[in-house]
Subunit: 317 residues, 2 copies
């Protein structure tokens, strides 16, 4: 049976899924990334995942797609990754040589949101944006049904500046969306309030140095009326509304898909306020025709998107 693999290579885990010809899942395998063991260690883990999937009987591998956190060139070379020991590493070539099939590599958020787009199965929606709000903020641009990557790094919605000379961002810039709306920004805001002596249900969560606050914990505190949490989330929603308004003015898309942990945990709850803020920032007449929806694939989005990425390349061959 013909089959294709989608790989979601994260900083801590690698998920591989083997898909059949109709997109049905045939097998899945998960391994630790072992980022501390260098490039060779990571590659060994990737190969273990692939080899496990390829042990399924009677399959003929057609191609491998992969999503990876970091800057990936339009040709599939990993230029730089903040969480993986891969730099100027041609992962696409490596996979092609080792497994002898066409391969494709993209940025993890680009790929995951492309997966969410393909999952919609709405070929009538050609121009779509995917906005990902999780530990960081990212996105994907779909133009005429295809993932647009520019020179490879496009779709960095987290670094759309919403407030010039605003909050400092990890990228070295100021006022980026990510500095307000990411889970990390929410966490930092709450932590700053704790340091000022304010009370919050999330006091111990945010004070645990090194740990990343859970989206579900934020959602829970928000729902229970925790003032500090509400302030942090409202600040995030304000920035998201500004960014979404701008994105509508720039792309005039047919649809925006909202994904990532924060949206999964509290997107529906934040919807009315988010729409209101977006409307304030988009041009008259442009927002009404934009369908806003939520992602549905959860943790499988990355692997599914990687599968769709290589499927798209196979079709074009």
């Amino acid at each position: 049976m013909k089959a294709t693999i989608g790989l979601d290579i994260g900083g801590t885990k690698i998920l591989g899924v083997l898909y059949g010809e109709s997109g049905e899942e045939l097998a899945r395998e998960k391994k630790k990334t072992k980022a501390s063991e260098g490039a060779d260690g990571v590659i060994k883990q990737i190969e273990k995942v692939l080899d496990a999937l390829l042990s399924v009987e009677d399959i003929e591998l057609r191609g491998i797609g992969a999503g990876i956190p970091g800057i990936v060139s339009a040709k599939g070379e990993v230029k730089f990754s903040p969480n993986l020991p891969l730099q100027n590493f041609d992962l696409r070539k490596k996979l092609m040589e080792k497994y002898g099939v066409p391969s494709a590599v993209g940025n993890d958020v680009n790929v995951a949101m492309y997966g969410e787009y393909k999952h919609l199965q709405r070929p009538d929606l050609k121009n779509v944006l995917g906005l990902f709000v999780g530990t960081g903020v990212g996105g994907a641009i779909i133009v005429n049904g295809d993932l647009y990557v520019g020179q490879g790094g496009a779709g960095e919605f987290g670094h759309l500046v919403v407030q010039s000379d605003g909050a400092f961002c990890g990228c070295g810039g100021r006022g980026c969306l990510e500095a307000y709306a990411s889970k990390k920004a929410i966490q930092n805001f709450i932590l700053a309030q704790v340091k000022r002596g304010r009370e919050t249900l999330l006091k111990s969560d945010v004070s645990d140095f090194g740990a990343v606050l859970k989206s579900s914990a934020i959602a829970d505190a928000y729902e229970r009326g925790d003032t500090v949490t509400i302030e942090a989330v409202d600040r995030a929603v304000d920035a998201l509304g500004v960014a979404m308004g701008s994105l509508i003015n720039l792309f005039n898309p047919q649809s925006i898909i909202l994904g990532g942990g924060v949206m999964a945990a509290m997107g529906r709850q934040l919807e009315p306020k988010l729409y209101e803020r977006t409307a304030l920032n988009s041009m008259p007449g442009l927002m009404e025709t934009v369908k806003i929806s939520f992602s549905e694939l959860g943790d499988d989005a990355g692997a599914y998107g990687a599968y769709q990425l290589i499927e798209h390349e196979l079709e074009a061959m």
Copy 2:
């Protein structure tokens, strides 16, 4: 001889140019728009321009392209124009029926910057942005060599929000790029300073109610060290740098073309500061590979872009 017409339909003037098969100019015609005479009056003027061009001997008309200020649907229907008495007006259909040839209609700034892009004759540059800074601010998005319009209204770079809750904008929003960087914003800023009793070389220019300040006058006062003008222009450049940084983070384009009256008059002068501000707002590694250039067609960009727009459709047929 086979020929194609490009029309630049402005609020005050209509420019039509007849192009031969190699893009050479065969004839041109300019008429007043007569916007005050309603839709019929404007159409009559458009037809006068077209009929004059069609009186050239021995030509066989292949198609008509047009750029028009306002919101144009992806199908070429004028949804709304702030300066023309055309609303929900299917100009494309009108032209096709009257002249019996394929026609295309787009937003004037989209079309003009597409013209600048085609004028580069650089097929290796596939993903390019055109940023137009004139009385207003607009732009064009080129994806894979084609003009991207989304549902028709894409490329509204003037309504990229650079400062949430910032300066009020004509669109009803706040903090839009246009509210800082357009000639109108520069004029308003200088006028506000005059009202506060400050001295400026442009005092009489900005105080003449209803008149639009000339880009050349701004450039002149800036060069002569006029403090108020320098403040207004620096504020514009700061906002442009924020916007260009964001645009690079979103699109990771190969090139940005800067056009419009303000850029024509003082782009070269502002270049160092603009680049410096853009670098502060774009992600590390993304700006280095973006070629920034200036538009070259001046007042002919609209007609030339309209010609290229219909040529592109004719090729695809």
